[in-house]
């Protein structure tokens, strides 16, 4: 009986250890993500190759679908299933194009992760700095990491010097929809135009 009890204890301990070993700390996740991106940006390959590789990193590490629905704001509740599906597809293409083209402008950026603050079970804010160069000062960057699944954290927002990119995007989308009296199709048209441009 005691042997059996010991065996169960060891078994539970093993499960706990394996679970802990696989869950990824948000600060380590962010640092490894920026290291991957930095390696690509400083490599001697063409800009279009860099963009393609950055898109792979974004697909792995960013919650594109989540950001897409966040940026719709109050309008996300008004979408039917078909529109949701179309929006998810369009936003994904838009995001990857916009994100990789923004990032590809940087050459060899050095980002140091400094600290992290757990907001709740779902979110941790990781603080980092983009190290200063001769042409630009140090820039503070904070990462909103979605940690609902601790084994697979995902980036949901970048807050640069206190300015949220997701919020800026949300207000831009809202402006586009409102300028067409709340017609979501106007946003879809703008997204298509950006993607095909």
């Amino acid at each position: 009986m005691i042997k059996k009890f010991k065996f169960i204890n060891i078994f539970l301990l093993l499960i706990f250890i394996s679970k802990t070993a696989y869950s990824l700390e948000p600060n380590i996740f962010v640092q490894s993500t920026v290291n991957r991106a930095s390696q690509i940006l400083s490599s001697d390959i063409s800009k279009s190759d860099k963009i393609e590789k950055l898109k792979i990193i974004a697909t792995d590490t960013v919650d594109i679908k989540g950001i897409g629905f966040y940026t719709l704001g109050k309008f996300r509740k008004e979408l039917n299933d078909a529109e949701k599906k179309e929006y998810t597809k369009l936003f994904r293409e838009y995001f990857l194009k916009s994100f990789s083209s923004r990032l590809a402008e940087y050459t060899n950026p050095k980002i140091d992760v400094q600290s992290q603050e757990k907001l709740n079970d779902k979110y941790t804010i990781v603080s980092s700095v983009l190290v200063a160069t001769d042409t630009r000062p140090e820039i503070k960057i904070q990462w909103r990491v979605y940690t609902k699944d601790p084994d697979r954290p995902l980036i949901r927002d970048l807050i640069i010097e206190g300015l949220s990119l997701a919020r800026t995007q949300k207000e831009e989308f809202s402006s586009i929809i409102q300028s067409s009296d709340g017609d979501i199709q106007s946003l879809f048209s703008s997204l298509k135009k950006f993607i095909n441009n």
Binding site: I159, G162, S164, S175, S190, F194
Partner: protein, 261 residues
């Protein structure tokens, strides 16, 4: 006494406009709210006009300024930052930040004298705080709980709000010592042009520092006007809070509902 009276008039003026701009709903919350763009069509037209001016005048000037040797750019930035203390210090006091007001006064005294009119930031080398934060009357009104009111785009000057514009009026009503020294009073030591050069220099310095960011934002925006508006309002809210904490400056409620992949 006259000074206090002017501040009081601005305070009342701002409250009225904040109410008017919000259709009776003033956000006293320090968290982020909906954008109140009451004059959007006029604002968009002014924004387009400013972009035209920027393309013809400010961007080329800023690009030229960027090519100047680093010591000249750093010295210019230091002089402008030193002058800005003249507005920051009274606002530190109005916001109850007496210790910061003391430190900034010491910085101003040291940099104006030992640092030769602010060209050299000697104060930072002497151990005074390096992370100097500018304050203005718009920020002070914000810390007093006044809502930002409607968003505005001013010709040449760019983004603002009713509250920030009211804060700017305080400057020309006598609350800006630099304006008093150069324009309002004949001190014989300074000319009116000194004021305009300093303000123009501030704008140029800001534009030169942000050339790449603006280009990138314009290229990747579907509605550049809305992106600039969002960034301006977020920046002002952050400056009013004087906080780097995301939980204080960003509204989390909208994130809660978003489901995972």
């Amino acid at each position: 006494m006259r000074y206090l009276l002017k501040i009081l008039i601005i305070y009342i003026f701002t409250i009225n406009f904040a109410f008017a701009g919000a259709d009776g709903e003033v956000s006293f919350s320090k968290k982020t709210g909906e954008v109140k763009d009451c004059f959007e069509s006029v604002n968009r037209a002014t924004f387009a006009f400013n972009q035209g001016l920027d393309n013809i005048i400010f961007e080329p000037l800023a690009k030229g300024y960027r090519k100047l040797p680093n010591p000249i750019k750093i010295g210019t930035g230091n002089v402008l930052s030193n002058i800005s203390n003249l507005i920051t210090i009274p606002n530190n006091i109005l916001q109850g930040e007496f210790k910061t007001a003391g430190v900034n006064t010491a910085r101003l005294a040291v940099n104006t004298t030992v640092g030769i009119f602010g060209i050299f930031d000697v104060a930072s080398q002497m151990g005074f705080i390096k992370d100097y934060k500018k304050e203005d009357y718009g920020q002070t009104l914000g810390t007093w709980g006044i809502g930002e009111g409607c968003y505005l785009v001013l010709p040449v000057l760019g983004p603002s709000t009713i509250r920030d514009l009211s804060g700017n009026f305080a400057n020309i009503l006598g609350a800006d010592p630099w304006y008093n020294l150069t324009i309002k009073n004949d001190t014989r030591h300074f000319k009116e042009s000194d004021y305009y050069f300093s303000k123009g220099g501030d704008g140029l310095n800001f534009r030169a520092k942000n050339i790449d960011s603006f280009e990138n934002l314009e290229k990747n925006s579907m509605d550049f006007y809305a992106s600039v508006r969002s960034l301006y309002l977020q920046d002002r809210r952050k400056k009013i809070l004087n906080s780097d904490s995301v939980t204080e400056s960003q509204d989390d409620s909208d994130w809660d509902e978003i489901q995972s992949n």
